[in-house]
Structures are given as C-alpha cells and as structure tokens.
Symmetry: C2
Subunit: 492 residues, 2 copies
C-alpha cells in the first residue's frame, strides 16, 4: 500500500498536509517559513504559469524583471502602503560575512553595514513606480502593460505549505494608464482572466467581487478578487486585481503630458496570483485517496500500468502501450508508462491515485487477448473495460469529461453550501458549520469588525454578479437598511 493519508473527516488540516507532503508537492525547509517545492509540485505550478503567461500575453502584457530589494525609505512613500507592507519583512542590513575572529564559522562583518537598509520585496509597487517615473513622460508612453514572475517574502508568524509561507512565488502585473476609466477597465479585465483560469483550468468555481474597504490592498482604491470554497466550507482568496488610482504616481511623482499638453498623474493597477493557488487546487478537489488533478493542469494526464507475470508478457504489453502513448501524445496528451519491475501494480495504482493522475490505463495478457484495456478515472474512482480500437479517442474525450465533472462537483458542493441568512442567530449558528453566508450588511467597517470579532467571519467580497445579490434588506447584524447581500465566510 501507498502512504497513509488522514481522512478529511478525521482532520481536514492534517489531510491537507498529508497530501502536500506525501504526494511529493512540497515540504518545509531548514529556513523557518520557507518551503521547498518538489519536482511534482513544481511541474503543476509550471503548468499554471504557462497558461497564465499565455493569457497575459494574449491580453497585451509583456514580462520584465525588477530588483529583489527595495530601499527601506521607498516603503514609506505611499501612506497606506507602509501600514500594510512595512512590517513583517526580511531586512538586509549588511553586505558581508567574515571569518569569526573568536571561534569557528562566519559572522556578520560590522564594517559592512548598509547606509540604508534594504527590504526583500513583499510586493513591488514602490520599486516599479520609481522605475516607471523614468519610462513615462508623454501619453505616447502609455499604457505600460508589464508583468513580473518573481519570489516575494512576507515574514509570516504561522505558516502552512503553499497557503501561507514566508517566501512564495507569484506573478505581479503592474500597469500604467492615461485615464481612470482605462485603469478600471484593466483591473476588471485581469480579475476576469483570473476567474477564467480558475474555472477552466483549475476546474474551480469562484465568486468575483469587490473587497470591502478594510480588506483592500494597502494603497488601492478598489480591490477585486476571486473567492473559492474549499471542501471544509471555508473561503480561499485565489487572486486579486487592484485599482490603485493615482496613489503610487503621486508618491513617486509620475506624470505624463496629455495630448492636450497638460501634465497629469498616471493611473495604476496591480494584480497577482501566487503559489497559494496550489493550496486551492489541492483543497478544492482532493479526496481521501489523494490529489484529484483537473486534466488541464495535470503534469501527467494518463498513466499506464502493465499487468504481467512473465517478462515476455511485459514486453508484449509494453509494445502495445508505446503505440497508445505515441497516439495520445500526438493529440497533446501527456502520458507516462510506469514500467517499474520492482513494484507491484497495486502499489502503482495507489501511488498514481495519490498523485491525482486523471486517467489510468491497465493492460494485461488477458486484455491483449480480448483486445481491451481497463480504464480507471481518478475523479469518480470508477473502472471500465474499453476496446483497444477506440481507446485513443475515448481517452481524449474522457479527459474533457473529467475536467467538466471536477468543476461541476466543486460547483455543486459550493452551491449547496451557499446560505441566504437573515438573522443574527442563524448567522452565528451557520458560520461554525462553514459555507458562504449571503447576508445584508449595513456597509460600515464597524459592523464588519464586530462580526469578525464575534465569529471570525470576514466579508469575502461584494459580488459583482448583481442579479444574485442586489435586493433591499436589513443588515444581519445591525438591522440597518442595505441594498445588497455580501459574502461572509471564514477564510484561509
């Protein structure tokens, strides 16, 4: 048997950790809060990167790279930004080590103290807007549509693999525009790209909406987000897109000359997703046997396991498998033949289940005789026998079906855990059971804060999909009038 995994029922949090570690996705490193992303985990992240990068380029963006370090003083330039990001961060104070004069090893060289400390970027608005100052002088220089793939560091006290780590990988888009309308359109476009990616590649339904003022990015005028529901009913923020107004342009004095000759401050957006998406992917679809990967992001989409007693049988089966592999690869499907001879097939089955490979084909001598192949689906854990003649087309169709089925399953779960709650008693009762609570809210940060204090629930977003939530009502906490419902939940 493969490694034991704690069941979701028994301990959801331990189940998550078991999956991450035992499926070979990531592990903790010797450095507090920093993870090692293992090859299988990184291969999934690469598939995410590849698809997102394609979508960014299709929407007119280019990649660039900005420094890892930010001068400490830059963080103070934007008043709200400093509150949000100039706190728990890695501070570089020296640039040299030297042999320890009083013993072994190396120590910091006190003579190599930096004049101004550098902060390892927690996000790059400040260093990028300081750069854009030199790139922008006229309306002809706009828009700037740039994205960066990078590592960032936020010194978190409590960390969890993928979900909250001191160092994580992400992309951050930073765009500059001549008009407010254009910047807002960009903010909306990019949250749309994220929603598209979540739904059609991660097979994960999301609610798109605005953050409340208190949940906004530090320095933004508006933050749009996508919120997904995990299998314990908690929310996970999977991507954000910020309309930054002219805040960073003012902080770094970035102006452009308009067509009419006037000097105007530039409008900004920023948007990002991170390796946190790996956590979302695992928790949205995994089951008690391991990962369940949507075919669109699975590094291995089809695994083939030969069944045999004698060497001669193995060779016959492998020959057939290689033909199928070649044919599947021509359709762009990634295939692995697990021909290890020192491992039993039951062990292989469990291992590839743990790793979430969408389709498993098993062929033995009897299959060859009958001209059949055993096809197992990871999402439903069902098996059926198919003809070898049509296996290639059938597998291609099956992968599409699995992608849809995984999405539909997650959608059904999410929708059955959406509650319209109208009284404070019901709210308190439901919130501990999990799920998204659609409630009226009076729009004040005070009420929002009190609800959080009493229940740990936050407003995940004010949904943009108006038809669902726009209606008259009374705030679930204060009883004051409200014109729309918002989404409350406990969140990762």
């Amino acid at each position: 048997m493969a490694e034991h995994i704690t069941s979701r029922q028994e301990n959801y949090s331990q189940w998550y950790n078991d999956l991450v570690v035992k499926a070979g996705l990531a592990e903790n490193s010797a450095v507090r809060g920093c993870m090692v992303i293992k090859p299988y985990g990184y291969a999934i992240w690469e598939k995410m990167q590849h698809q997102l990068d394609k979508m960014f380029k299709q929407t007119g963006h280019e990649n660039a790279y900005f420094p890892l370090f930010i001068p400490k003083s830059f963080l103070s330039r934007e008043a709200e930004h400093v509150e949000g990001f100039a706190k728990e961060c890695a501070v570089v104070t020296h640039h040299r080590l030297m042999a320890n004069p009083n013993g072994s090893g190396v120590v910091v060289d006190p003579s190599a103290k930096l004049e101004e400390e550098l902060v390892v970027r927690p996000t790059s608005e400040t260093i990028i807007w300081n750069t854009y100052k030199n790139w922008i002088s006229s309306y002809r220089d706009l828009p700037i549509l740039v994205n960066q793939w990078a590592n960032v560091v936020r010194w978190e006290m409590r960390t969890r693999l993928f979900l909250r780590t001191a160092e994580f990988l992400w992309q951050e888009g930073h765009t500059a525009h001549a008009t407010k309308a254009e910047a807002i359109a960009e903010t909306e476009k990019m949250v749309g790209v994220y929603a598209d990616f979540a739904r059609n590649y991660m097979a994960m339904p999301v609610i798109v909406g605005h953050k409340t003022e208190s949940e906004r990015f530090a320095g933004a005028l508006d933050t749009l987000c996508i919120e997904a529901m995990m299998q314990d009913g908690r929310a996970l923020q999977a991507g954000t897109s910020h309309f930054l107004g002219q805040n960073f342009a003012k902080a770094f004095d970035v102006k452009y000359q308009s067509k009419e000759g006037a000097l105007e401050y530039v409008w900004a957006t920023s948007w990002g997703v991170s390796t946190r998406l790996m956590g979302a992917l695992i928790m949205a679809h995994g089951d008690d046997n391991g990962l369940v990967l949507p075919p669109n992001l699975a590094p291995i989409q089809v695994v083939m396991v030969p069944i045999f007693n004698k060497q001669e049988q193995l060779e016959q089966v492998l020959e057939k498998m290689k033909d199928i592999k070649t044919a599947l690869e021509k359709l762009g499907i990634s295939v692995k033949i697990d021909d290890r001879e020192n491992v039993r097939s039951g062990f292989k089955f469990a291992e590839w289940e743990l790793k979430g490979v969408p389709v498993r084909l098993a062929i033995g001598p009897r299959d060859l005789e009958n001209h059949t192949v055993e096809v197992a689906r990871r999402d439903t854990l069902t098996k059926e026998s198919m003809s070898l003649d049509t296996i290639v087309d059938n597998v291609a169709a099956l992968l599409e079906e699995i992608e849809k089925n995984i999405y539909n399953k997650a959608l059904a779960y999410r929708d059955s855990h959406l509650y319209r709650i109208d009284t404070w008693e019901d709210f308190k009762q439901q919130i501990d059971k999990g799920g998204f609570l659609l409630c009226h809210w009076d729009g004040t940060p005070e009420t929002e804060a009190k609800i959080q204090e009493e229940t740990k629930a936050t407003i995940r977003c004010i949904p943009m999909d108006t038809c669902v939530c726009e209606e008259e009502g009374k705030c679930v906490y204060s009883g004051k009038p409200s014109t729309r419902r918002v989404v409350f939940a406990k969140a990762y």
Copy 2:
C-alpha cells in the same frame, strides 16, 4: 534618426552600455548593483530560458524550487565553499520594520533580530544538499536530476549590466549520483548542452575545457566551462559545470545504501548559466548600428514596415502584409507589423536595426505594382528586392542562413584571434592586443599567478579538444616542460 550609439572603435565599453540601454534591454535601478530587465531584454532571456529548459528536460531533468535564504552556518559546512561564497553577500538580520519613534518613516525593529542571520543565496549547493539528505536513503532514490530557475545575489563592488550585477537570474542544476563515473558523465553532458546551446542558438562559438585548480568553483573537484570570445578579443565565461565529488555529501552527511548494502556518500554535480549570457549575446554579435540577434533567439524575427503617402496606400500595403504575417506565423516565425503612423519609416528602420531584428520587409505602392518586396538583412545590412510570390519560403530560408552566417562570422573572428605563442616576449606583446593565446604552461598555480600579476591574463581553460592542444613543449613563462597548450586571455 534613432538614438546615437558610440562606435566599438571609439569606446567598446561605452558601445556595450549604449546597446543595453538604448535597445531597451536593461537599466540600472535605484538599488546599487541591481538591474531592471526591460520587456525587450526579458523577451530574449525568455527565449533562452525556454530553449535551455527544453534541453534540460530532454536530458531527464526536472525543475524544483528551494528557499531564497540560507542559514549563515550552512555556508561554513563545506571548507572551500565558505571561502568562495561566505563573503560579499546580502545578510538578513531582522524580520520587522516599525514606525520611527523619533521622526518620520520606518526603522528596523531592534526586537525583531533573527537568532541566526540568513544569507540571500549566492548559489544553492548548501541548502539543496541539506534537503537531499532527507530525499536519499537508498540507491533506488538516485540519481536526482533537478534544476532550479532562480534569482541569486552576490554583492559585487563594480557592476555592469548583465555582465556583473549584484542580483542576477540564472538556472542551477544540482544532481546526485550513486557513482563517481555517473557524476563525471553528468558534468560532461551538461557542459555539452551549454556548448550546443551557445553554438546553435546564440550562434556563438565556444571552447570547452577544464578550469585550472585556482579558477575552479569553490567546493568542486573539477569545473568544466565554455569560453567565448567577444569582439574586443576578451574572453567571456558563458557557462560552467562542476564535478563536486563527495564534498557536499560529506558536509551535509548524505549517504545512500548501495545494492550491496554498504553505506556510501553520494556524488554530486552542479551547473549553471545566467543572465550574463545576455551580455555575451550582445557583445559577440552587435555592431555600430545596434544589436544583431541570431534568429533562434530573436523575440521578433521579421519586422514589416509599410511605405506610404496616402491612407489608402497604407491600407493596401497592410492587407498584403497581414497575409504574409499569417503565412510566416504558420511556419513558427514571429512577425511584427510596425504600422505606427506618427513615425517616419527611416526612424523605424533605425529602431529595428538597433533592436537587432534579423529580417526587415518593406512594402510600398510601387512594390505592390511590381509584385515585389524589399528584404533587408540585419547581419549584412544588405537589401534586395524579392518576388511576393515566394517571399514566405525565402524568408524562412533566409532566417536559417542568417543564423549560420552570424555563427560563421563570429567563428572567423575568433579563429583569426587565436595565437600560438611560444615566448614570453610575444606573450606580453600580444596579450594587450586581445585574443586567445594558446600557450604551454608548466601546470603550477605559481606560474599561473605570476602571469596574471604581470599581464592580467588568466587561464580561461584547458581545452578538452585534445587534437588542437596536445603536444610537447615548454612553458611560455617558466620554460619547464609541458604536454599541452592552454588558453590564456583577459576576461570579462
């Protein structure tokens, strides 16, 4: 006219800087020694990455990601490594900033001092071998063939864009093997991949060889490298592959149980190339008009510039251009139509020359009448008129020819600056004029050091291509007997 570029003749070093900045590849940032890689520069780097990544995967490697930070004590674990890398590096000492109690801005929070300082990775052998310790217990766990794409920091005092920066981007392969022979084979295989990449994608001839003991990577038993010649006759080390023996396995206590049941230390290699390759690419091929990009790495392979007086002409020309673009893109060729209307075509020609686009097509109303197109080659700066009927096939063939021609030109330059030098007088005279000096050397670090002291020349490598250099002779400096020539040069 486009921006003025200093000629190579006038000032080679300034010419290089002009190209980097004016072609929009990179610029210095507000952080000392850290560069901003601009979109056009990053697009070239992405093409390099994409091709190298493919070659690594074809040779069985997988990507992973390890922490940015290394505990200070790790650097001291391998005796030679600490000498090489525990010096000029960025040291993180604190994990929090706080509001300045005595004024504005933020200051380091003295209460947030780390127990052990962290170093921003200058290279990752130590953190990776500390991780491999947990991954390896049996011969079945070997080999581990892992690569990482990452940023690293080495606090350089004098920096130059791409060639020597405090932060740079690179890939570092780290492999673990059961036997010495297998590790040596891997070291050789990967320097071979680098040579293949340099020659067939960068169109840059390289000499493959061993570093002398004093030029080896800190902690390696052998360092293989590829050395290229720039147009000023200086050498540029473009990639290295290290056989690390069991040094890191011993430092981090990484043993495996062999098939026979014995406990053995694991054998290691590491290998890397960095954004320094961008500097090599620029300096190997650029001319006084700007970059000359080999088609295999050019983000834009073909640019089309419409020639027109009236709007109606522009539309007719653009229609034709779009047909050609579609046909070229079907062949996998990247094409840009420069349809800007506020810029004259002469300006466009100069700009795309500066940016090194291999082929430029210009079409005007008279061309449409004559059914022709003007084809300009960036490598030779020649123009000819071709028929519109066969333009797609001709451009495809031309791109291949340009790739070859750029290589051959660089090879001819390199070979005409290779000198077999046998006396110390000749050595001193030639070394200041540049070029690679093939000389006998007595094999001692003392002679090597003295030659460097007197001339600033170093031994770039002991070539692996035995037929060129293996012969009896006398050391150019000491007159002692030698069995082979080595390559001396001044280097970047």
